[in-house]
């Protein structure tokens, strides 16, 4: 063994050590990137309103005043939460009801123009929301649907339904083709095969799609903003954007951050619990 090779071994070993630390640093970087602003939002929410502009990493004095302010009668926040819940849930349920059979057909049946239909459906989700809203706004104004739930739910279907169909189609595609056939060979009628075999297996996929659709519908802004101008029908995203302080120039950041926390925490918790499903659902399209 010459010194040359000895050196080679030494330098490669050093290189190996740096290589070991790089992933951990990278992971730390990503976590910091994702959570730092969120962290700042939480910290701001828990400060006393008077300390709003403090820059300390943790609140000097922890306070829930901001949270109380969020639910003051004037803001209509509680009602907004309810509205969001109704709109998002209804959208999700409708989407699943309408879209599941379509997804199943697209995944399992062979018919001409199948790819065309799928492409068409996905294409419709790419249309700008505002392009749908402008004419619908006119129509809804004429038939008196402004400030109703349906005015928000129906346009939401324009992006929720295609996405759900796409998601579910990808999911159904992954199920082995022989399942129904095996069940029928085992003595099930087609209906039984569907009920006993397909439905239980489809449940996780539908659940995942439901989660994704719900989150998307919950986060929706422009439709809710356009179709509703009365405070008691606003969804939570619109309500938050309209928080004002005492004067026009007073930005009640603390209250806004508290509202943000209230809206976000359930979503974050849901995401943490269902992270595997969500990631599988988000990335299954076209890649598997």
């Amino acid at each position: 063994m010459t010194t040359a090779t000895g050196d080679a071994r030494r330098t490669t070993r050093r290189r190996f050590e740096i290589k070991k630390w790089l992933p951990i640093l990278g992971v730390a970087g990503i976590v910091l990137y994702c959570l730092a602003p969120f962290y700042w939002m939480v910290v701001t929410a828990f400060r006393r309103p008077a300390d709003q502009y403090d820059l300390s990493p943790l609140p000097r004095t922890w306070s829930v005043e901001n949270f109380l302010a969020v639910f003051e009668p004037g803001t209509g926040f509680g009602r907004a939460l309810l509205n969001s819940l109704i709109v998002a849930s209804t959208t999700t349920i409708l989407t699943l009801i309408i879209g599941t059979s379509t997804a199943y057909a697209l995944a399992r049946l062979a018919f001409r123009g199948k790819n065309l239909v799928l492409s068409l459906i996905i294409a419709t989700s790419m249309f700008p929301g505002i392009s749908l809203i402008v004419p619908l706004l006119r129509l809804f104004t004429d038939i008196g649907w402004i400030n109703t739930y349906q005015a928000m739910i129906l346009p939401s279907l324009s992006f929720a339904l295609p996405l759900a169909v796409w998601n579910l189609t990808m999911f159904f595609r992954q199920m082995p083709q022989e399942l129904e056939q095996a069940a029928m060979v085992d003595g099930c009628t087609p209906g039984q095969a569907f009920r006993r075999i397909i439905v239980p297996l489809a449940a996780p996929g539908m659940f995942t799609t439901a989660i994704l659709t719900f989150i998307l519908a919950w986060n929706e802004f422009i439709i809710a903003l356009s179709m509703v101008n009365e405070q008691n029908m606003q969804t939570v995203t619109v309500a938050i954007s309209k928080f004002t302080g005492a004067t026009q120039y007073d930005q009640p950041f603390g209250t806004q951050m508290a509202a943000g926390v209230i809206v976000t925490i359930p979503l974050v918790i849901g995401v943490l619990i269902f992270q595997r499903r969500i990631i599988a659902g988000l990335t299954s399209g076209g890649l598997k």
């Binding site: 090779t5 080679a8 071994r9 030494r10 070993r13």
Partner: protein, 361 residues
């Protein structure tokens, strides 16, 4: 000179107590075709990957020629490897796949093209040069993987079960092609397989591994005729050698209702082993004998018809083992028949019942 040396090389996977490869000592001569063989999990692939640089070496060293390559990354070792699943670059054509390494080495383009064409000719791939891997059959992909290795003109070829994904017929024909190719090119080759038939037909020498430990490294004939322990004896040869647990009885050992004469060394070892010794006898050395001849009684449980041979799987009454014997196709006994099995004493192997090691005759 491209000799290869494993110098007490050891690899322990993190979190595991038992080494995957334990103190491997192997010296491979220049131009030799060495086969690493053994059951799943014996450490053969790990050993190969240690040589490739794809696996860390926890202790010991690995040398290629005079160079200690133990810490070097694969690209600095001047080796070429054929992977089990071929690992062809899916987005590149056959020609690009084969020329990739040369591109990395900044070889001038005309030379790359020439060397690729030569290798393609050698492997009968010329008409596929423009195709992508997904447009090729399994056998063609396998040849491209070989071509990728050949083009590099490296010091060492490494092959990790390259035939395991081919159907049986293709495997047999490709086997001889690879062996012939290696002889022609004269490059030191380390070849991993779990199939002992492959090992025996292809290797200049065969190294048998078990549980991370080298059992024996010798020529195929040596392995077959003088296995170093009971494991090698039972692993090499198809059908496998009969390994019988026999008790010492005075000057002989009892096998069923017959007695086999054994040497003094065997008797001594049997004494250490609590009076037992493992007797090994290959099926072709066990034959059906007439009622008056020396042999053990057995009942035929299964008749395996192989065309040129017939193998009888027999059970021996009162003993816990069965014996496989070879019979003539036309005069083979029937299922359920009682037979007398004669054993050639000169063909008997003896192994310690305690250590499994061969007992020298």
């Amino acid at each position: 000179m491209a000799t290869i040396t494993y110098d007490r090389a050891t690899r322990v996977y993190p979190g595991s107590e038992h080494p995957a490869v334990d103190g491997l000592d192997l010296h491979i001569a220049d131009g030799e075709f060495l086969v690493l063989v053994g059951p799943s999990g014996c450490g053969k692939s790990t050993s190969l990957r240690m040589l490739a640089g794809l696996e860390d070496v926890d202790s010991g060293a690995i040398r290629i020629g005079e160079h200690d390559v133990t810490g070097l990354s694969p690209k600095d070792r001047d080796i070429a490897m054929v992977f089990q699943n071929y690992a062809l670059y899916p987005h590149m054509s056959v020609a690009d796949n084969m020329g990739f390494a040369l591109r990395m080495a900044k070889t001038p383009k005309p030379e790359i093209e020439q060397r690729v064409r030569e290798a393609a000719k050698l492997l009968d791939l010329e008409q596929y040069l423009d195709r992508k891997p997904r447009a090729l059959s399994g056998g063609q992909r396998q040849r491209v993987a070989m071509g990728r290795a050949i083009v590099r003109e490296p010091q060492v070829f490494l092959m990790d079960e390259p035939l395991s994904n081919l159907d049986a017929k293709l495997r047999v024909s490709t086997r001889s092609q690879i062996a012939g190719l290696q002889r022609r090119l004269g490059v030191s080759t380390v070849y991993v397989t779990h199939d002992q038939v492959e090992a025996m037909t292809m290797g200049d020498r065969v190294a048998v591994l078990h549980d991370g430990v080298l059992q024996q490294c010798a020529s195929p004939r040596e392995l077959y005729e003088r296995p170093a322990n009971a494991f090698v004896a039972g692993f090499i040869g198809s059908p496998p050698m009969n390994l019988l647990d026999c008790r010492l009885d005075g000057e002989t050992v009892r096998a069923g209702d017959t007695a086999l004469p054994v040497s003094g060394a065997v008797r001594e070892e049997a004494g250490h082993g609590g009076g037992s010794v493992t007797i090994g006898i290959r099926p072709e050395d066990v034959r059906v004998v007439g009622p008056g001849e020396e042999g053990m009684s057995a009942t035929v449980d299964l008749v395996e018809e192989l065309g040129s041979d017939v193998y009888l799987h027999c059970s021996v009454p009162d003993e816990g083992y069965g014996v496989v014997a070879r019979a003539q196709p036309r005069s083979a006994p029937a299922l359920g028949e009682s037979v007398r099995l004669g054993i050639r004493p000169e063909a008997v192997h003896a192994f310690s019942a305690v250590t499994g090691e061969r007992i020298a005759a």
